[in-house]
């Protein structure tokens, strides 16, 4: 009896961990493209908040979670454009403009929620979509193959973004612009256009990540539902060394820890709730401390591009 329960709990922790991968993966992979092109987008957390609200709100009003996801992505693209306008065209210091974007989205999502909803209410989000055949495999089935479509999509995004970044012409441009913008410019690559594209892509994925939190996971919206996941996603890009595979590993670490924290609460283990919440933040700092020193980074990261000749 005892043995069965413990194995159920372990499967539960792992399954929840896989489910919680999605927001980290979406947001980090998007941020990876931004940073590969040389732009440090700290606004991810804010864009996720807006994505979470928009996805929730559209689903609540129109009853269609797919439309919610689409609108959240659109909102993310618009906010990515705003970040691009300030950081690429106006060449603002990116750390500060990202915090500005975060504050704007934080205030705006709070404002819209209070005005248009005002109370906690639940929505009909996405249902799990067990993959026929695979879902029935013992142990592996519940862990990997009984999630909603967004989870599968986020994992699929890992090989896709690897392919786009390393095997396509556009990916080559992105990497070139992030390492040697002057040289890329000389060869006829429009540096700022590539950065705009990356910020829009990053915004779209951050919006998607936010929408997952409300439409694909919690089925409701509350203030600060992102709980710093956007900032952790930015840290994951460093931790994963600007590589989709590294980002997958880092995301797994964090989603498993998130899952563990949730299960600690669910099981009522006598452990102060606040310390369980603190855990991911502490590990983020530790991970950054271990991972970052003396590692290759896009050399033009954080440096606005400006043609010398103007």
């Amino acid at each position: 009896m005892q043995g069965i329960v413990i194995s159920d709990v372990i499967i539960g922790i792992l399954a929840t961990g896989v489910r919680l991968l999605a927001p980290f993966l979406f947001a980090s992979l998007g941020e990876m493209f931004c940073q590969r092109s040389g732009v440090f987008n700290l606004g991810v957390e804010g864009i996720m908040m807006m994505g979470a609200f928009v996805g929730f709100f559209v689903t609540l009003r129109l009853g269609n979670p797919y439309l919610g996801v689409v609108m959240a992505i659109l909102a993310g693209i618009v906010l990515g454009l705003l970040m691009a306008l300030i950081s690429v065209t106006m060449q603002a210091p990116q750390g500060i403009s990202g915090i500005g974007l975060h504050m704007f989205c934080w205030g705006l999502s709070g404002l819209l929620f209070r005005v248009y909803v005002g109370f906690i209410t639940s929505i009909d989000g996405f249902k799990p979509l067990p993959i026929p055949g695979l879902a029935d495999i013992p142990v592996l089935g519940p862990i990997l193959f009984q999630h909603n479509w967004m989870v599968y999509l986020s994992i699929l995004f890992v090989p896709i973004s690897w392919f786009v970044l390393f095997k396509t012409n556009w990916g080559l441009k992105v990497r070139a612009v992030g390492v040697a913008p002057q040289a890329a410019d000389t060869l006829g690559v429009n540096v700022n256009a590539v950065r705009y594209q990356c910020l829009m892509l990053g915004g779209a994925l951050a919006g998607l990540a936010g929408a997952f939190l409300t439409v694909g996971q919690a089925n409701m919206y509350a203030d600060n539902i992102t709980a710093g996941r956007g900032f952790i996603a930015v840290a994951l890009v460093y931790f994963g060394r600007w590589n989709p595979v590294g980002i997958l590993l880092g995301s797994l670490l964090f989603s498993m820890m998130n899952s563990l924290q949730l299960w600690i609460q669910v099981l009522g283990i006598n452990f102060p709730y606040e310390f369980a919440v603190i855990l991911p933040y502490v590990v983020t700092i530790a991970a950054l401390a271990v991972a970052v020193k003396n590692v290759w980074a896009p050399t033009a990261l954080g440096k606005p591009f400006r043609r010398e000749s103007i």
Binding site: S97, G98, M103, G107, L111
Partner: protein, 375 residues
């Protein structure tokens, strides 16, 4: 000649700041309209509210006090080339540490207990900020990310303390369980200067410290080295300045100011540590520093301005039911527009390019250059 140039420069900077604020308020008006209220009515209560009588005027300064203190720390860190986003967490750490000391020695006279409490809060904030600086200097950890994480850690740590070990015994006795500490010993409360308001002398402490920071950064060797580390770390290193050391110091100072802000907020306003003490001041302090042009004296009017805006937003919430959250959105826009418009300060030639009809070809550029020489 040179003097008038400087005057033109500072006037154009003020114009840019005003433009950034106006643009942010314009977008804010659109948001208010979307939220279903008349922007003119809403802004009327937001801007006139703080001027309505004794309460409005003093309460604006009450709100300006933590803004200025956090802002001074942000100025110091930004000037040293390191970005402190951790004001929220440092405030909370300062407040909870100071309160712990004050509650431990409730019978001590104010002459000893008040300075001790303030010093402990400064030290707690300094440790919290300095740790991020140390992580940056020794391990290359991005300070923005680490301070953001430290914010969340500090908030949870404080929540744990005020829900558990440090909760007001009366909250348990009456079974209400509101997460807050007991009231701090009465003798160290910061005196209120105007009857019937919350205006306390913390504001003057903050203003005095602004002048201290100015003298420190511009008139002492350490301050000079910190600014040198911020202006050009490579050049500073070549000149034998230990850039990392001064950046750790800058973060510790930034944390110290934020910690003090937390304690002053406790001693002057709430008299105890409670949930939501930092109230976004850690982020708004960044706005104040940027709006004060990263100058400690400039931060004084900026803090008063945003103190009024914060209070005005509260008053607007009561008048037309627009959530005060909008002030955070407007502040975010102010940050975006201020750092965005900075390009006109760094590259004034862009003005000229924008006001010319055609794209600049070589001839046009030469013309512009010769026109510039004639001035």
């Amino acid at each position: 000649m040179k003097k008038s140039n400087r005057l033109v420069q500072s006037l154009s900077q003020v114009a840019l700041l005003a433009g950034a604020l106006l643009l942010a308020l314009l977008v804010g008006a659109i948001l208010i309209a979307i939220a279903g209220a008349n922007p003119l009515v809403a802004y009327k209560s937001m801007f006139l509210g703080p001027f309505s009588g004794k309460f409005g005027m003093t309460e604006s300064l009450v709100k300006a006090t933590p803004l200025l203190l956090v802002g001074l720390g942000v100025v110091t860190s930004f000037r040293s080339g390191i970005l402190n986003i951790g004001g929220e967490g440092q405030m909370v750490m300062g407040a909870i540490a100071g309160a712990a000391v004050a509650l431990a020695f409730p019978k001590w006279p104010a002459v000893i207990l008040l300075p001790l409490t303030l010093i402990v809060s400064v030290l707690a904030g300094a440790v919290w900020g300095g740790f991020a600086g140390w992580l940056k200097a020794k391990l290359g950890v991005n300070e923005i990310l680490s301070t953001v994480m430290l914010n969340s850690i500090a908030l949870q740590l404080c929540l744990y303390l005020i829900r558990g070990p440090m909760i007001d015994p009366e909250e348990i006795a009456y079974g209400t369980g509101t997460p807050q500490t007991a009231q701090l010993p009465r003798q160290i409360w910061m005196a209120r200067l105007v009857k019937g308001t919350r205006f306390h002398w913390g504001f003057f402490l903050a203003v005095a410290l602004a002048f201290v920071v100015f003298i420190f950064l511009w008139r002492t060797t350490i301050g000079y080295r910190m600014r040198a580390a911020g202006e050009g770390p490579d050049a500073a290193r070549a000149a034998g300045i230990n850039v990392e050391k001064y950046q750790i110091l800058a973060m510790a100072m930034a944390g110290g100011f934020a910690g003090l802000a937390g304690m002053v907020e406790v001693l002057g306003v709430h008299r105890r540590v409670l949930e939501g003490l930092s109230a976004g001041y850690g982020f708004s302090g960044i706005v104040v520093a940027l709006f004060g042009r990263l100058h400690p004296i400039g931060a004084i009017p900026a803090a008063i301005l945003f103190g009024m805006l914060t209070l005005g937003a509260d008053m607007m919430q009561r008048a037309v039911a627009i959530p005060a959250a909008i002030v955070m959105a407007i502040q975010g826009l102010v940050v975006l527009f201020v750092v965005g418009s900075d390009i006109f300060v760094r590259h004034p030639e862009i003005w000229r390019r924008w006001f010319r009809k055609k794209d600049p070809d070589t001839l046009g550029r030469l013309e512009a250059d010769s026109a510039g020489n004639r001035n």
